[in-house]
Amino acid sequence: MIEIKNINKTFGDRHVVKDVSFKFLPSKTNLVIGESGCGKTTILKLMVGLHQLDSGSVLFDGLDFPKLNQDDQQDIRKKIGMLFQGGALFDSQTLEENVRFPLDMFTDLSMNEKLDRVNFCLNRVQLVGKNRLFPAELSGGMKKRAALARAIANNPHYLFCDEPNSGLDPKTAIVIDELIKDITHEYNITTIIVSHDMNSVIEIGDNILFIHKGENYWTGNKSEILHTTNKELFNFVYAGEFMKSVFKVQNK
């Protein structure tokens, strides 16, 4: 399990994350949602150590990650898979090399075993036969799926996803959501997704943290979120015309 306790972060005079605490449940898709600029990606980066905390704790199975030395932090990071907003695939490597990369670095598997694992992961994200393509040759959705294949290649315990649906059409976005949900349940991964996409919330929101202006405003799950009485969350959930119509149907 991953738990954040009273984490704070300021950039200059901007207090971006304010005393946020939350428990991310294992084998669940945990969502951090909120408006653009509310601090949710900063929370994600604080959790994996890409930003330094001002105060608070990030506990990975009880270990306070920011307080560990660099070697111990690297050991935990080897258990993390991360899907970045833009994919962050290595431009100079083919899809196969990208997915194989964590296996090259951290396993002693033979080349055949590594290729089997690569093909398994590519198959899992529906990119069979695309091994020789470079990232520049992939569409936005394919890049996300390739990045997901790389993230799961080394059997991670924790999966972090930063806006996995941004820039994708609704159909492809659902494919990505379904993939993340299935992978989470299949491999008992603790998955943390940063998103502002309400479709994702409804599809895969097992455990939700709503952030508003850097603060923890609401926690719950996808069933509870539709019946919220929290004003800020209500405005966020029912901001779009589609969700407004859902609200009208619910209250008829």
Binding site: V48, G49, L50, Q74, D75, I76, R77, K78, I80, M82, F84, Q85, G86, A88, L89, F90, D91, F101, P102, D104, M105, F106, N154, F160
Partner: protein
């Protein structure tokens, strides 16, 4: 701090070894054509300019070969060619690493538990330290050859005079001085460019700025360290 991370024990030697081979090709072999062209022409220009400047009939014409060799071995190949490599290789490294920074590829390496500074920068430094002396040796050979071809074909001296000149008063210690400079310059070019690339933040504009800074700073440091090493080796 960055260099401490760069020279931390590699996490997997086999992966680093492959990267070093890749970088030798990327920053070394790909620079061979420009080094070859510049060296041949500069060798020729040095010889013809020397012939033009020597108006005293008491000076023997083998001085042309001697002058070309001294200029090329002592200064042109180790310093001027390294300045050119600072432009080509330095900007390439800074923009490559800078682009990786702004597209979160370096973050991706860190998240995987990889020492990104070590993985990205260490192979470049080692590759440059290995391949630059070879490039400069080729530059020296081609520079002297260029001087021979241009000098003889322009009628500035005979073939015998030029060859006699390049063999006259040869001190092998000067090669030691030149290659020491090259190794130091190789380190300066790759480490400065990597530093600016690695610390890029922002967007494409900042990648360009990092690239420019890398070339400017490494060029200035090459000249500064050239002066320091010349004082150490040649100031008796």
């Amino acid at each position: 701090m960055l260099m401490m991370r760069v020279f931390k024990k590699p996490q997997k030697w086999s992966v680093y070894y492959k990267q070093i081979i890749f970088e030798i090709d990327n920053i070394g072999i790909s620079s061979l054509p420009i080094v070859a062209i510049i060296s041949i022409f500069m060798g020729g220009i040095i010889t013809i300019q020397s012939a033009f400047s020597i108006s005293n009939p008491l000076l023997p014409l083998y001085v042309l070969g001697f002058t070309a060799r001294e200029s090329i071995i002592l200064e042109f190949s180790p310093t001027i060619v390294c300045l050119i490599l600072a432009g080509k290789v330095g900007s390439n490294i800074a923009s490559e690493i800078g682009a990786m920074r702004i597209t979160e590829q370096i973050d991706a390496l860190e998240i995987m538990g990889i020492n990104s500074a070590g993985y990205l920068i260490f192979p470049k430094i080692i590759a440059a330290i290995i391949i630059f002396p070879i490039l400069i040796a080729i530059s020296m050979f081609l520079g002297i050859l260029g001087g021979y071809i241009m000098g003889v074909s322009a009628g500035a001296c005979s073939s015998y005079q030029y060859i006699y000149g390049i063999q006259t008063y040869f001190e092998p210690n000067k090669l030691y001085y030149s290659f020491t400079k090259v190794v130091v310059f190789a380190f300066i070019i790759t480490s400065i460019a990597s530093y600016f690339g690695y610390n890029t933040s922002g967007g494409a504009l900042e990648v360009g700025k990092s690239s420019t800074k890398a070339v400017v700073y490494s060029s200035v440091l090459i000249l500064l360290f050239g002066l320091i090493l010349t004082n150490i080796f040649l100031n008796h």
